[in-house]
Symmetry: C2
Subunit: 498 residues, 2 copies
């Protein structure tokens, strides 16, 4: 393609990259579209690449409007004729075409693609084709490694001088606020564990929501590094830093299809762990029909994929797959979960033992993976850190470093709220607890926006209850809001007693 | 899912479908997004489906804002509690998921999908997944039939009481303005041939651009029907009617990938022909490296696909694949091509014989396909219609019916324009004519926006020329614009003489 156009000074400035403005109708006929790149050639020594803008107002057919920058820098004269050629499409588009045809891509290609996605240079339509290409042909292990690596490298990285450990949960289970417990245990033993967490996504609380009851959680990278230098840990919201930013764009176009593959999920997790400098990762996988991972067989597949990908990054990965029969801990909702975890590290008499044990189990495995102790000894060491108060001391340090209140008392976390108790209508054994229904009722009560709304669960899975026994207590900010929860609890059978 | 919310009157009116407004943050937690559909249940007798809107200003957490329509129609009282459930995703999304997993779809599924696309109910991202799904697994012949049928049925249809014939060109060749010639011949014999054409897409002229030199071409469906009733034909721009509107949306997301398959191209053409009620279709396929179809082998593949799909619609399809060595006719650019075609039907001494013959050949085949005459007799009959003046009489009728000038004289079509002749630099035979370069130079001269800009070609492929012979003449509206064309012609070697 070679078109000749007469230069016109537009008297605009972009302060950025060179821009050439075409007559809209003419550009359309040339097959040149806004955002394309064109080369402008005056002579052999005068050639630049500009990005395309179009207008019917400022530029007539036969003209090309040039912005101040080009005008000055290249000493263009009014009426000069320039030869315009469309630059070949960005490499990323070619890479996406390759993947749509099921062909393999190199690291250079994938890096350029992921970089373009992360810097928002690709349209949503093109990003969707990229997401779709995994269905044409599954990415090879090599390519998954490339994608995770490129995602990590095109975003902010943690870059501590030492490697760190991490815990990740694939989610879907109410309660389960074990993260702060694990972080406190691990950091209390001198091992770095900088933890970023998400807020609730269609659930009554995420770790970031829970921690926010106790201290601020939203920080930029530099501030987080300061916190970690001080305490060897942090418990912050991941949204404040730009780790693996391409992932957010890909998730945005993947979500509407609701067909996320395990490969995509693992790459997305792994990218953030690589950016964090993790060398030992324990992944908490609740297994159950209402969880992200429905069966133990699926958990096995995920484990295998995680381990293989981890190996390429020199990262040990272990999966802790546990059948999800009920929430872990007794509280559901940010403040009720914060109370639970404080009760555990402060060894309160009403602490939920299942939460304490699960935290110690995962922390223990991390210690063993890191080589801190022999296999089989981790749990014991973790437990000791809690019983001795070392874990609480560490959590207190972290809360203070993040700007929270000193010396929280677990019993001061909850506010005076409207309550409503639900009692067993008959005697029998608790045969099933509906996690999904718990989530829904807690959201009816106002969680996670209302941090103090939620539910305290009294009866546990497998235990016997008598008619009239308390099953759970609902908390809401007002009578009116409480009523919404009561209606929800009436609609959903949470406890199946048989 | 079951959430309970308290009703609030929003005092807005949409005049359209019922809308329910959620608190933005809360809706996000519920996994309810703008555009989703929710069912609102007050009691067994009171249930409606509403579409979701969100706001942080008008609706607090725990509330649902209802628009005037719902309020009045369902006698909602302030503070009433409503049970909200997310309706399952539209069927189309499920169909796209199926196709992304390579599974077959039924007609009902494809119809609903194409209808959603045509009515802009699917996001660009979802439409892209649909376009991508053809790469996961090629659509079966059955599915291609379903898609074409659904595309036709979800748009405007021509619905004449009689079946019609049509001609289609897959494009890419300069000049080639045979359509008005074919239409004139066929209609002059009493056969219906309502023809919609496109404007130029990255070329110096489309049939609609050329006809617009002679008469208006932009009409709505009713007006077109009147023209066809009067003349048995029309020569209008297709953009004025909404035939197979889903196709436009699909093309929009397909174009950036630049990987259109023959299947997609054929379905897209076929949908419009079905909407038109075509029973005989002749497809003009210029074959060459700079055309849409590069080789004769590809033309064969296309022919086979066309015939098979046509058969399902009871439509006879024939392909006329001709090696493209040079433009058909001598003019390139809207007015220069209009002059060519008038010269043919008016039997002017300078008429381009190749254009006349190609027009008669295709018209003749259509007559044979339609059963108007025996095989082998069509060309002769077509030629007679031209020589007798019947074709010109018919074209004149059509031009008048479309509101154009009566009795055009071919030699009055062009305006007094700036001209520049290019002469042969050496003697020899014309061994190659670069169609792409001709297109580019004509666009440098201002075509198709400037209807009178373009090129007249004097030397034809295969002939001998002497040094100094005229090769072609360029036309532009001004000296300045002419200079752009001259530069273009200097940059591109159009005639290869050896």
């Amino acid at each position: 393609m070679a078109y000749f156009l007469r230069c016109k000074n537009l008297d605009f400035s972009t302060g950025n990259q060179p821009v050439a403005m075409f007559n809209e109708e003419e550009a359309d006929n040339y097959g040149i579209h806004p955002g394309d790149r064109v080369s402008l050639l005056w002579s052999k020594s005068k050639k630049i690449i500009a990005s395309v803008d179009v207008s019917n107002k400022h530029v007539k057919s036969g003209e090309i409007g040039l912005f101040e920058e080009i005008w000055q820098k290249h000493k263009v004269e009014l009426g000069d004729i320039v030869e315009v050629s469309l630059e070949s499409r960005p490499l990323s588009v070619e890479t996406i075409k390759k993947k749509m045809l099921g062909k393999p891509a190199t690291y250079a290609e994938i890096y350029a693609l992921i970089e373009d996605i992360s810097e928002n240079r690709l349209s949503e339509v093109m990003t969707t084709y990229y997401a779709a290409s995994g269905f044409v042909k599954e990415f090879s292990e090599q390519e998954l490694y490339y994608v995770a690596k490129a995602m990590a490298e095109t975003g902010e990285q943690f870059n501590l001088t030492t490697k760190v450990v991490d815990k990740h949960s694939v989610g879907g289970l109410a309660g389960n606020r074990i993260t702060p417990i694990i972080v406190s245990i691990i950091a209390s033993l001198g091992i770095y564990i900088p933890k970023t967490s998400s807020r609730a996504i269609t659930s009554p609380a995420g770790t970031a929501d829970t921690m926010e009851v106790l201290c601020p959680v939203s920080f930029e990278m530099d501030a987080i590094k300061q916190i970690v230098k001080k305490t060897k840990a942090c418990l912050v919201w991941g949204g404040g830093v730009k780790m693996a930013p391409a992932d957010d764009h890909i998730i945005k176009v993947s979500r509407p299809l609701a067909l996320e593959s395990y490969d995509k999920m693992i790459v997305s997790i792994m990218a953030k762990k690589v950016a964090m400098g993790v060398d030992c990762l324990i992944v908490d996988v609740p297994v159950g029909l209402s969880c992200k991972v429905p069966t133990m067989k699926d958990a096995k597949i995920i484990e295998e994929k995680f381990k293989r990908l981890g190996r390429r990054f020199g990262m040990k990965v272990e999966i802790m797959a546990i059948k999800a029969t009920e929430p872990v801990g007794e509280g559901v909702g940010p403040a009720l979960e914060a109370r639970d975890l404080l009760r555990v590290v402060q060894q309160h008499k009403f602490r939920p033992i299942d939460l304490e044990n699960k935290g110690c189990k995962l922390a223990g495995r991390l210690l063993e993976m890191k080589g801190y102790c022999k296999k089989g000894k981790g749990f014991e060491i973790a437990k000791k850190q809690i019983i001795s108060g070392a874990a609480w001391k560490k959590l207190n340090e972290i809360i203070i470093a993040q700007g929270g209140k000193k010396d929280w008392n677990s019993e001061e976390v909850m506010q005076e709220y409207q309550r409503y108790e639900i009692h067993a209508k008959k005697s029998g054994r608790v045969k099933f607890i509906d996690n999904k229904a718990i989530n829904e009722v807690c959201m009816n009560l106002g969680a996670p926006i209302d941090k103090y709304a939620g539910m305290h669960i009294h009866a546990r899975y497998g235990t016997k209850v008598k008619k009239g026994d308390k099953l759970f207590t609902m908390y809401a900010s007002s009578e009116e809001r409480l009523k919404l929860g009561i209606l929800g609890a009436g609609r959903n059978i949470i406890f199946h007693i048989g």
